[in-house]
């Protein structure tokens, strides 16, 4: 079951935690509410970038994902 797995799990396996995550997604961060700000490393130059710096200029389409 995934509930005992660390964030960076070694191998994918579904379970109750995944079901909960999908269910929670529909119940939190609803449309019309404020998106949480965050800071992350821009791959291009290694600089720390805040979402709020980006949304100060334009609307932002935010996609999450990885190589795998």
């Amino acid at each position: 079951m995934t509930q005992d797995l660390p964030y960076n799990y070694e191998g994918y396996f579904p379970g109750e935690k995944e079901e909960e995550d999908f269910s929670r997604f529909q119940q939190t961060l609803n449309v019309g509410t404020e998106a949480p700000d965050f800071e992350a490393t821009r791959l291009e130059d290694g600089k720390q970038v805040k979402l709020s710096d980006l949304t100060a200029q334009t609307d932002v389409v935010l996609e999450f994902g990885s190589l795998t």
């Binding site: 799990y9 949480p36 980006l54």
Partner: protein, 165 residues
């Protein structure tokens, strides 16, 4: 998504990709144990898919990813004003996003024309194309472990059908 990013960047939308944990790690593309490794795998992703959008690499422990729900391929449209969430989806689908962006453009046009508009809360259940063959081929590039894990997951779902996509 790259095509949409180019098409809509002059229409007031900035596309950003947030690099998260590996969803289906394998021997060739393992889970992250160091931030530098996460950066390297983000570079490999950028190169393999010729990503032109800015890539923001989340912290090793996934602070941003977890704040937004920690699903593997989520999509959000976040407004310039008050950082409002205009749209969210648990899976990224370009056709759905195009529809939403066109809708947003109409909203802007109405505002610019001083036409009155009130809020209208909407929900709808979208769809996305499924490309299993391509997905499984992709798992092979991650390493045999990723394929084995996926086969175990399929067996699990036979016993426990998922309610999500």
């Amino acid at each position: 998504m790259e095509k949409l990013a180019i098409e809509y960047r002059d229409k007031g939308f900035n596309f950003v990709f947030v690099y998260t944990r590996e969803a289906h790690p394998g021997e060739l593309r393992p889970h992250h144990t160091r931030f530098e490794q996460k950066l390297d795998q983000a570079r490999a992703f950028q190169s393999q898919y010729d990503i032109k959008r800015p890539i923001l690499v989340d912290s090793l422990e996934g602070a941003a990813h977890r704040a937004y729900g920690a699903l593997p391929d989520m999509l959000y449209l976040i407004g310039k004003h008050q950082r409002l969430i205009w749209f969210k989806a648990d899976w990224t689908d370009a056709d759905t996003l195009r529809m939403i962006l066109e809708y947003q453009i109409k909203r802007t046009e109405m505002r610019q024309a001083n036409r009155k508009a009130g809020p209208n809360y909407c929900e709808f259940l979208g769809f996305r194309p499924r490309m299993w063959d391509r997905f499984v081929a992709h798992l092979h590039t991650n390493g045999p472990k990723a394929v084995d894990d996926w086969e175990r997951a399929m067996a699990y779902w036979k016993e426990h059908p998922p309610s999500h996509g």
